[in-house]
């Protein structure tokens, strides 16, 4: 991969605002940032800081009040954009997994590739099995989500998103709903994904993950980006007072 390619901006966010109650509550208050190919951007901040809203705005699960988001050169906030097409290139992993409980793991993973990418059943299943093998769950293909542990569900949720070959993966607090002993297995999968060069935006409370895997950390509070830097700098040399108090509490 050339250096030029590595610096390519995939998602460009400009002046993003999300207001509720006619501007009374500002969940997002003028967010501007670029996400480049291969980056692992970790978003941290206290609860209610707008970090989840920011992440969910990136694939328009939240409709921003104003501002623009450009994904692969297309303004996705414009009404004429086919958002369904764009979402196919943005995988998303949720806090509560959101696996489809009425479908087997295999069907969870092959539904979207078959219906949206036009893969045949054999192709989709072959791919799903490869991905399942990567997260060590190939033997659970015929199980239903309710038969899996939380950590297994989240690993499945990650590979379900990966089955669509996304350009970017969005993680919305992927380990927050897990029992402590299951956090490690999910972070391991995410680490491997980062190593493989996937562009990732990750809202998390796992500071260890942010430090070890992140290429950039964004600290948000009150709907604004307060500080943005390499993990090194953020954790060893925080500039803003609010970041300093936040880190004191969580570390």
């Amino acid at each position: 991969m050339s250096a030029d390619n590595e610096n390519k901006v995939i998602i460009s966010v400009k002046d993003l605002c999300k207001h509720y109650n006619g501007g009374e509550i500002k969940a997002l208050d003028g967010i501007t940032t670029d996400i480049k190919k291969g980056e692992v951007v970790v978003v941290i901040g206290p609860s209610g800081s707008g970090k989840s809203t920011f992440l969910r705005s990136l694939n328009l699960l939240e409709r921003p009040t104003s501002g623009t988001i450009t994904f692969e050169g297309q303004d996705i906030t414009s009404p004429s954009t086919n958002i369904n097409k764009l979402r196919q290139n943005m995988g998303m992993v949720f806090q509560h997994f959101n696996l489809f409980p009425h479908l087997t793991i295999m069907k969870n993973m092959t539904l979207a590739p078959m219906k949206l990418r036009g893969l045949s059943k054999e192709e989709a299943e072959k791919k799903a099995l490869e991905l399942l093998a990567k997260v060590g769950l190939q033997d659970r293909a015929s199980a239903y989500p309710s038969q899996l542990s939380g950590g297994q569900k989240q690993r499945i949720a990650i590979v379900r998103a990966l089955a669509m070959d996304p350009e970017v993966m969005l993680f919305d607090e992927p380990t927050s709903a897990l029992d402590p002993e299951m956090v490690g297995e999910v972070l391991e999968v995410m680490k491997n994904l980062a190593k493989a060069g996937m562009t990732m935006v990750c809202v998390t409370h796992e500071m260890g993950f942010a430090r070890e895997v992140g290429t950039r950390v964004i600290f948000m509070d009150c709907g604004k980006i307060i500080e943005e830097n390499t993990p090194e700098e953020i954790f060893t040399n925080p500039q803003n007072e609010r970041l300093q108090t936040f880190l004191k509490k969580v570390l």
């Binding site: 409709r63 009404p79 196919q88 943005m90 998303m92 489809f100 979207a112």
Partner: protein, 329 residues
Amino acid sequence: MYTKKANLILIVGIIALVLSVFPGAGLICAVFGLVLYAANKAVRTSIRADIGRGLSIIALLVNLVLITYILLFRHLDNAPAWLLSLRESFYATKFYGEFENNFLIDKRYTYISKGLGVTFEVTFFAVLLGIALGVIVALVRSSYDTLKEELKGGFGKAILYILYKICGVYLTVIRGTPVVVQLMIIYFVIFASSNNKILVAVLAFGINSGAYVAEIIRGGIESVDKGQFEAGRSLGFGYVRTMTFIIIPQAFKTVLPALANEFIVLIKETSVSGYVGLQELTKGGDIIRSRTYSAFMPLIAVAIIYLLIVIFFSWIVSLLERRLKSSER
């Protein structure tokens, strides 16, 4: 293993039903099935055993009716004298006189049997119409709720808004007026020129039931976790495909028992069709009453028939609920 016994009870139930062709044998088989069920407590957790018991009970009832019929009315060769004299003394009772007068003379039982057929016909088509209407209305209402933010103005939103409002009026009017009044309005006002009473009844009860079904289905759609919808959309599915592949299959499971109950309610509701002169089950019983001036037998007979139908379908619904629950594990 109790599954073997459960299977046995199921098979005995089926055989009992088939053996009803030979009433005595069917009766013995049905009793055998019920004893088996009563003797094995462990078996009661099994749906198959419950189905078997239900079939045995049905076979038992059928056999008892058939045996009574044969003993009382069929010509019996070489019948013992005491039986024939018993029969004669039964014929002399007041009870039998009433029975004969209400059901046998002029084949009056056909009012009941034909009426039952009409009741089933109206209910069946009304259920189909009700479900079709209900699904459409529920989809319009819930899609407006979820899409109003996504559709930023424009033609599509205007249409959806108008449909949403129409559905709102439909629900308010239908649920706010008695079904008898709706039935009479459709028959005497809207279809004043037509005399197709079954069609009118199907329309009236279908439209009425649609309003309730719509709310049941909407409740089901809303009971599906919002995260499911987001997961579908985030994979790239549009609204319609997210609904068809992800939301509706899950909602269907939760609403199935409620829908089946709506069907049971509908069967009983059709009894008011007599207001427009449709000869369904209730009206059939009422006609007999007006011919014979004796109310007890025809009305009780009608009540028993409704009761048996409702018990039967309630049983089916309870099996369905258990089946759905067991597949959640």
